[in-house]
Amino acid sequence: MWENLVGAVALLAQPQVILIALISAVFGMFMGAVPGLTATMGMALLVPFTFFMDQVSVLVAVISMSGMAIFAGDIPGTLVRIPGTPSSAAYVDDAFILTQQGKAARALGLNVVGSALGGLFGALGLMLAAPALARFASRFTSFEYFWLAVLGLSATVAVSQGSVAKNGLSLLIGLFLATIGIDITLGIPRFTFGNVNLLSGISFIPAMVGLFGVSEVIRVTMEEFQGKEAPQIRFGLVEMIRNALDGLRARVRLFIQSGLTGVLVGALPGAGADIAAWVSYGFGKNTAKEPEKFGKGSEEAIISGTSANNAALAGTWIPALVFGIPGDSITAILLGVLMMKGIRPGPGIFENQGNLVYAIYLAFILANLLLIPLGWVATRTGLLMLRVPKRILMPCILLFCIVGAYAINNSMFDVGVMLVMGILGYMLQQLQVPTAPIVLGLILGPLMEQNFMMSVIKTQGSLAMFFTRPISAVLALLCLAAWLYPLYRKRRQARAAAAA
C-alpha cells in the first residue's frame, strides 16, 4: 500500500499534471455553468485532447473536469433558476428561493462546500469499495461475467426514470449497434452490408461524440440569456467555508446519507450524478427534520442534492475500474479512451497497476479540495458565462466534435458515424427516449455475447453452469430482481395513487 501511495504521489506531482488539472477544472466550470452544456459533453470534447496525454493526465483531467462541472451547474441554478446541468435540476427551486430571500451567499457556500465534501465522501467510498469488490471479482469466470453484463443491462433499465419500454428500446439500439462488424465466434461479418468501414464495428468514441455533443448542438436553442439582472454577491473564502460548515454541522446524518446514496446510485450502471441527485432529494425529503420546506427554500434539500451528485461521480468509477462496466456516460467515454491508452480495467489493475489506482484515489481527493477555492472564484464569474452568445458558441463546438470523431482513426467515415448518431440521439431525446442506455448497450453487448459464447463452448452447449456455480446463481437472482423491480415500482405507485 505505502509503495503504491509513494508511486502515486510521484505520478501526480509533475508540473504538467497539475497544470492539466487546473485547466480541466476551468474547462469543467465553463461546461457546467453554461446551461445546455453538460459534463458528459465536456468529456466528449475532451477526447481529442487526450490523444497526447499520458495515462495519469487523462485520469486527472477527467476527474477534475467532471467534479467541477457538476458543481458549477449549481451556480446559474442558484442565482437565476436555470440549472447549468441536469444534475442540478432537483434542488434548483430551493436554491433559487434562498437567493430571493437574500441568502444567495449562504446557498452558494453550501453548493461549493457541500459539493466538495460530497466528492470527498465519494472518493472514500471508491477507495473502500473498489479494492474489496476487485478481490471478490478476481474469482469470476466467463459465467459470472455474462451475468454481470446482463445485470448491468437490466439495472440500466430498472433504475432509470420514465417508461421501461422506451429505456429498453434505447438499450436495444445500443445492443444492435454493437453487433455490427465481424462476429467473435466465427468471424462472420454481421450487418455490414458490404461496407469495409463497418467490418471493425461502429467506432465507439465517434458515436459518443455524436450522441452527447452533436445532439446538443442541434437541441440548444439560440435564445440568448436575456440578462435578468442577477444579484451581485461578494463574500470572502473563509467566510463562505465557515458559513457552509455551520449549515452542514447540524445535518451530518443527512450529509452522510446523501453521500452514501450518491455513491450507490453512481455505482449502478447507467445511473449517474443526475439520477443520484433526484434519488437523494427524495430520500432527504422522507427523512428531513422539516420535509414540508422541501421545494420552498430548504437548506436540507440543497445538501441532499448537491453532495449526492458529486459523490456519485466517484461511485461511477467503481464498476468502471473493477469490471469495465461504466457507471454513467462520462465513465463510458472514459473507458473508450482508456482502452486506447492501454489501460484495461478489471480486477487485475488493482494488483498490476496499483500506482495508477492510487493516483486515481489521490486525484479525486485533490480535485475536490481544489474545488473549494476554485468554486469560490466560480461563484463570482459563473454568471458571466451565461452571457456567452450561444449562436457563436454552438458552431464552434461542432468543429471540436468533428476533430474528436475524426482524429481517433483518421477516418471521415467516423465523422459520418458521429453525424448519424447525433441526429438519432436528438430525435430519441425529443421522443422522451433516454440516450444513456444506448451507451451501456454498446459497451455491455459485446461483453455479454463474448462471455456467453466462451461459456457454452467450454460446456459444449450446456447452460447448467450458469445456474449451478454459486456466484453465478446469486448474480442470476439479482438479475431476476432487477427485472421484477419495475413491476413492483408500478404497483407501489398505483397503490400510492389509489390511497391519495
Binding site: 436495444l172 468533428i402 436528438y426 422522451q432
Partner: protein, 159 residues
C-alpha cells in the same frame, strides 16, 4: 407536431419494423455446428426484443391517445415533441459539406466553410462569422496538428 401519445405510436411501429428487418437477417447468419449458439443467436434475440418493445410502446401510446380522446384536457394542451427540423438539417448539411470538402481541400478550408456557414445561418453578421471561423480553424489546426501532433485532413497545399 402531433401529441406525444401519437408520436409514441409511430415510434413503437418503427421499432416493430426495425425488429422485423433485423430478425430475418439474423436468422440467416450461421450457427456453430450442432449448436444453437453462434453469430445468429444474439442478433435474433435483439430482433425479437425490438418487436416486443415496439408492441409495448405502441399499446401504451394508443392507450394514452384514447384517454386523451375520452376528453381529459383539450387537444392543444397535450405535450408535443418538438423537432427542430431546421437546426437538424443545418447540422446535417454543414457536416456533410465538411466530409466532402475537407479530404480534398484540407481541414482549414473545410473547417472554415463549416463554422462560417453555421454562424451565418444562425444569424450572426457576416463579418463576425468570417472572423470567428477563420481564427477558430487556424487555432484548432495549430493546437492539434502543430502542438499535439494529432493528424487532421490535409489539402493539396499542405494544410
Amino acid at each position: 407536431m402531433i401529441p406525444v401519445s401519437r408520436a409514441d405510436v409511430v415510434l413503437g411501429l418503427l421499432a416493430i419494423l426495425a425488429g422485423a428487418a433485423i430478425l430475418p437477417m439474423s436468422l440467416a447468419l450461421p450457427s456453430l455446428p450442432q449448436s444453437y449458439a453462434g453469430p445468429s443467436l444474439f442478433p435474433s434475440l435483439i430482433g425479437c426484443l425490438f418487436i416486443l418493445a415496439g408492441v409495448v410502446i405502441t399499446i401504451n401510446g394508443l392507450r394514452a391517445w384514447r384517454a386523451e380522446k375520452a376528453g381529459q384536457g383539450d387537444e392543444a394542451s397535450q405535450p408535443r415533441p418538438q423537432f427542430a427540423w431546421r437546426r437538424m438539417i443545418e447540422v446535417l448539411i454543414a457536416v456533410a459539406v465538411f466530409i466532402i470538402v475537407a479530404p480534398r481541400l484540407g481541414f482549414v478550408v473545410g473547417g472554415f466553410v463549416l463554422v462560417a456557414g453555421m454562424l451565418l445561418i444562425r444569424g450572426n453578421r457576416w463579418t463576425t462569422s468570417v472572423a470567428v471561423a477563420l481564427i477558430l480553424t487556424i487555432i484548432v489546426r495549430w493546437i492539434f496538428v502543430s502542438l499535439l501532433k494529432v493528424p487532421l485532413p490535409v489539402g493539396p497545399w499542405g494544410w
